[in-house]
Subunit: 202 residues, 3 copies
């Protein structure tokens, strides 16, 4: 098992936790709602990417570990949700690591399937954010990509960084770590310094 695989499983588990927590203040926060939301949040991004690329079988269908990682996330949320809510800052870090990882993994996968770099960057961003978009759309929230935070934009910056580093011949693991760091730093700085994406309509 590579370090990257372990991180991906951990990232899936973290996405499941944030998904399950998302139904907390909903009308009907039962076991099914929480589990369904956790599941869709976790697999949504990668699924959208693979459907668009026609890459079958989907990762979570061929690798059952992902489903069990999600279940672990659900059970952890059930047991520790009071602590988890207090650990907002830790959760934020987990989520940030998760989107960084999923962006670069998604970009890389798209590239490996032979698409152009511009498309690979879109696929990277979609891998990271579409799970959240589907979750928010289904729970009648304003999707995360429409909120103030520098969220998807950080992913896009990371994906482009990876592509540039790859293009100039940077060794793959270095490029991976640097590009992920771009996302993590941008996101942390954005929240700390209240950065906003520039408004479109001046």
């Amino acid at each position: 098992m590579s370090i990257q695989y372990i991180l991906e499983i951990a990232g899936t588990c973290a996405f499941a936790i944030s998904g399950a927590l998302a139904v907390k203040d909903k009308d009907n926060p039962d076991w099914f709602s929480a589990s369904f939301t956790a599941f869709v949040s976790s697999i949504g991004g990668g699924t959208v990417r693979d459907l668009l690329l026609g890459s079958y079988p989907l990762v979570w269908i061929s690798d059952i570990t992902i489903l069990y990682a999600i279940m672990v996330g659900i059970v952890l949320t059930f047991i520790f949700y009071k602590k988890l809510i207090r650990l907002r800052r830790t959760l934020f870090l987990f989520d940030t690591f998760g989107i960084a990882l999923f962006t670069i993994v998604g970009t890389e996968k798209a590239l490996s399937l032979g698409v152009r770099p511009e498309i690979a960057a879109i696929m990277g961003v979609f891998s990271a954010v579409m799970g959240g978009v589907i979750r928010d759309t289904m729970t009648n929230e304003i999707p995360i990509v429409y909120q103030k935070e520098v969220y998807a934009t950080a992913c896009l910056a990371g994906a482009v960084s990876y592509l540039v580093l790859d293009y100039v011949g940077t060794e793959r693991n270095t490029a991976f770590i640097l590009a992920a760091a771009v996302i993590i730093l941008l996101r942390i700085l954005a929240v700390r310094l209240k950065w906003r994406v520039p408004t479109f309509f001046r």
Copy 2:
């Protein structure tokens, strides 16, 4: 034509009726809204399942009978909607038979495509409920999986029952009928006895 096929066509027609009725109290209940909603409700679940499994051609694209069953449902709703609304209990039974059938058919189809039983159970539930989820998301309702009723949970119980019966070697038709009965009974009992899925956040 097998009995199962006839039931599937009848189930599709019933889903189309409940889909068309869903726009009744909307702002703009015109022919297109009603037909579009009927169509999406009927084919949504199976389509999500087949897209996720990469199983082409989609059932309703290769078998035109399904489209005509939906049209029959739309026309029946147009003619008899006042009666249908009064027949709430009959419609509930039809819908319950429909989700029971679609759950087991979906589970079985996924299994036949070689996925693991855990994934097949998810596909069974998705076949039954995703049409309704898409319908509710598009019409800005709270999706059915987020409502109080024991709905998707009954489907999950039925899918798991089918997988267990299949695993212990039960004859296929028997397993099919027993598992469908689990869903139907659970759903009827849940509504009668006001059962609720346990809350996730105690």
Copy 3:
């Protein structure tokens, strides 16, 4: 480059403009929101069609010109949005040309992949309207297909016209132009004369 291809690229650009403008009165009309919405609006319809038909690679993945047409649309909106909003009538015409074109192109593509005409008509309508449906669902608006205007119904009429003309042996370009004209005329007349699709529940 055929005239049709140039028109398709122009149509994509027009869809991107109307997508970017759609976030104008939203809570958070930043560059990412506008670009994401423009992108999803532009490629949504064709993507839904191609996913349902299993037609890979998706058009915008294999032809990068589409992505650049969308970017041009976004930049034009950024620079000229005040003028564009005043040009409401021109935009309406562009959008009408766009849906007419996409309906017939979608119908034709589905036919060429060997599906039945009834299914091809559905694919034509989906090509034209699903981008807007996804955009509206994500931005928590009532999807365009549920609004009063004769929108998707005009597309359906055009798709059916094309299929009839094709069936009776009309030369392809003639059928294309006539069917597109049906959509454009129906839509303009509907808006001018305040036509409505008949109500479903009398």
